[in-house]
């Protein structure tokens, strides 16, 4: 106690700061950093969970590069990202932009848009899976059939399955993005728009030259967040293609699902860890790239 009393105010602050930081530091070290480091280590080893770990060097990575399924999965993952992020951002911006101007039932409408975000992805995936079934079960095909349009093979086609799975994933994320966009729109002072009205510029100019540039911080945040989300897509795919996860013919399989199968179906932990490291590097690279491109100059 005497020792503590002799400390300067600054030193006492440091002692307290570290006292409070100790728990999260321990937590992060044990739950995050140690497994991460271990995963990187395992990616250079062979391990089936039960036996000994044996050093494999770069074998796992070599296998990855030579694996046609990995490249297919890599393409799929980027397809989710490249389609999902812009589509969801454009839709959520359009909804937020108009919802912001709507007074009528504003709160109720906002709640409706936010509901999917609170719904379990598993439940949602199964409902959508039902939508996509052929006649006479599926909602979409029934609707098409009733107006005389031939059925569409949604989930059993190698070309349609990925967009069909992406749709509910986009829909699920809209609520969150709309709320964030609306907060961003509210933060723009009204006088900016009033000044533009007096200057007599078109609505289009106001949108492109005032609203969107001032929303840039919001957009950066949402681009990075939604990109990370789409790069890590798993539950929608897994639940909608549960008979043959990632199928048909791996056409919907994302990287996370491949990692899951390699680790817990094939018990090839070294190979799964190598895939995880690749995913980590991709996430890191994409996020840094986006921040760099979208950052204020």
């Amino acid at each position: 106690m005497q020792l503590y009393r002799n400390l300067t105010i600054r030193q006492k602050q440091i002692v307290w700061a570290w006292a409070f930081l100790a728990l999260p530091v321990v937590f992060y070290t044990v739950i995050r950093f140690y497994p991460t480091a271990n995963a990187v280590l395992i990616s250079f080893q062979d391990w089936n969970l039960l036996g000994d770990r044996t050093w494999a060097g770069l074998d796992n990575y070599a296998k990855l590069v030579a694996d046609p399924v990995f490249w297919q999965v890599f393409r799929n993952t980027f397809a989710y990202l490249i389609l999902g992020t812009p589509i969801s951002l454009v839709i959520s911006f359009i909804v937020a932009y108009h919802l912001d101007k709507t007074r009528f039932m504003h709160g109720f409408l906002r709640m409706l848009y936010f509901l999917p975000f609170m719904t379990s992805a598993v439940a949602m995936a199964w409902v959508w899976r039902w939508f996509y079934q052929p006649v006479p079960i599926g909602l979409f095909n029934n609707a098409l059939a009733s107006i005389g349009i031939p059925q569409i093979n949604f989930l059993n086609s190698t070309t349609n399955a990925l967009p069909a799975i992406l749709a509910p994933a986009v829909w699920a994320g809209l609520g969150f993005q709309i709320i964030i966009f609306m907060a961003g729109l509210r933060a723009i002072p009204r006088s900016y728009y009033e000044a533009a009205r007096i200057d007599g510029v078109s609505t289009w100019t106001v949108l492109w030259e005032i609203t969107l540039p001032l929303l840039k911080p919001t957009i950066v945040f949402l681009v990075v967040f939604s990109s990370i989300g789409f790069l890590r897509i798993f539950d929608h795919v897994f639940n909608m293609t549960t008979n043959n996860p990632g199928g048909p013919l791996n056409s919907t399989k994302p990287l996370v699902l491949m990692i899951y199968q390699t680790a817990f179906n094939s018990f090839d932990m070294g190979y799964a860890a190598a895939q995880t490291v690749v995913l980590f590097l991709v996430l890191l690279g994409v996020s840094l790239l986006q921040l760099r491109i979208l950052r204020d100059r």
Partner: protein, 352 residues
């Protein structure tokens, strides 16, 4: 160049009427300041003139044209906002040029116009800066430049100086006044600061609760206030108000005792309020009005303000800067009859 005429202007928000029939004529090239406490309707009036709010009833005429149903851009006005409304992501040049976006003039001409305005405002070397690199006064100037570049018939200013510190405010006040003398356009300026109104205006419009209280030159509203509200609102410290009643023979009896002779006709038997400005009221005067004990002294150097507790409450008076009365001393305060204002005690209207 244009005049501005408001006729019986009424504005209602939901069911609350906030402006109750404003009538005003602003001459071409005149600098008119709307002043009043917050919520008096001065900003609403300005926004109606700008076209940012819709008129409930009455007409607004700019340059002989009723503009009630015209979009802001078609009214030939420009507005400077309280928070400047300059865009943080655009350079000064783009911000000033934004006012010309809808104009069909050739590019070179627009550029020339921007340069001209920048020269007038003394910010030619700041054109490529972003607003974040400017000081408060410079941002204010960009906002003014953006309005000037449109060369409008009427300039509207919505409390443009209230975000500046005191020193800068005084400086910008002067700059805007000089600018007006140079450009000569009609200006409507809204402020809650009576000093701003007094120093800048050709004419002042004093508003309260959606009514115009008085319209007049700074000298008129100061020396001939129409009612007690104007009398107390204009001038600092505020005018002293002492209750009394008019006796026969044109004399005025104060509640605290003492009778004042007036050479002006006063309505006999009426309860009145006597108004005297602190600078007109002082100790050792030939025409004593009221007496009391000095409670506080505020030395200002060239003079000293003394707060005197009287039977009618506290009054403020001016005393000599070198030898003011001591705190606790009893003083008799007097004033010249011509510097006294008499108001009806009930309606507050000026009687003489």
């Amino acid at each position: 160049m244009a005049n501005l005429i408001l006729r019986d202007l009424v504005k209602t928000f939901d069911r609350t009427e906030v402006l109750h029939g404003i009538d005003l004529e602003v001459a071409d090239g005149e600098f008119v300041v709307f002043v009043g406490p917050s919520g008096c309707g001065k900003s609403t009036t300005l926004r109606l003139i700008a076209g940012l709010e819709e008129v409930t009833s009455g007409t607004i005429e700019i340059a002989g044209r009723v503009v009630n149903n015209l979009e802001p851009k078609d009214r030939d006005i420009a507005m400077v906002f309280q928070n400047y409304a300059i865009y943080p992501h655009m350079t000064v040049r783009k911000n000033i040029g934004f006012g010309l976006r809808s104009s069909k003039a050739p590019r070179a001409e627009k550029e020339k116009r921007i340069e001209e305005v920048a020269t007038i405002l003394g910010m030619s070397d700041l054109l490529s800066r972003k607003p974040s690199q400017l000081s408060g006064g410079q941002r204010q100037r960009v906002a003014i430049g953006r309005a000037m570049v449109r060369d409008p018939a009427v300039f509207l200013f919505d409390e443009p100086l209230s975000n500046l510190d005191a020193q800068l405010r005084t400086q910008m006040r002067l700059e805007i006044k000089k600018l007006h003398q140079r450009v000569g356009s009609t200006i409507v300026f809204v402020t809650h600061d009576q000093v701003e109104a007094m120093t800048m205006a050709d004419r002042i419009v004093i508003m309260k609760d959606g009514y115009i209280q008085q319209v007049g030159t700074p000298a008129e509203v100061y020396h001939k206030p129409a009612n007690t509200f104007v009398a107390r609102f204009i001038g600092a410290p505020s005018m002293n108000m002492i209750p009394g009643a008019v006796n026969g023979g044109g004399t005025l009896a104060l509640e605290t005792g003492g009778t004042l002779a007036f050479d002006r006709p006063l309505p006999e038997g009426r309860k009145v309020t006597l108004g005297v400005r602190p600078e007109d009221l002082g100790p050792g005067h030939d025409n004593p009005v009221i007496e009391g004990k000095v409670t506080v002294r505020e030395p200002l150097g060239h003079e000293t303000l003394i707060y005197v507790g009287t039977a009618s409450g506290e009054v403020i008076a001016k005393a000599d800067g070198r030898t003011p009365p001591e705190v606790g001393e009893t003083v008799r305060l007097g004033a010249l009859t011509e510097n006294m204002h008499v108001f009806d005690a009930e309606t507050g209207e000026a009687l003489a």
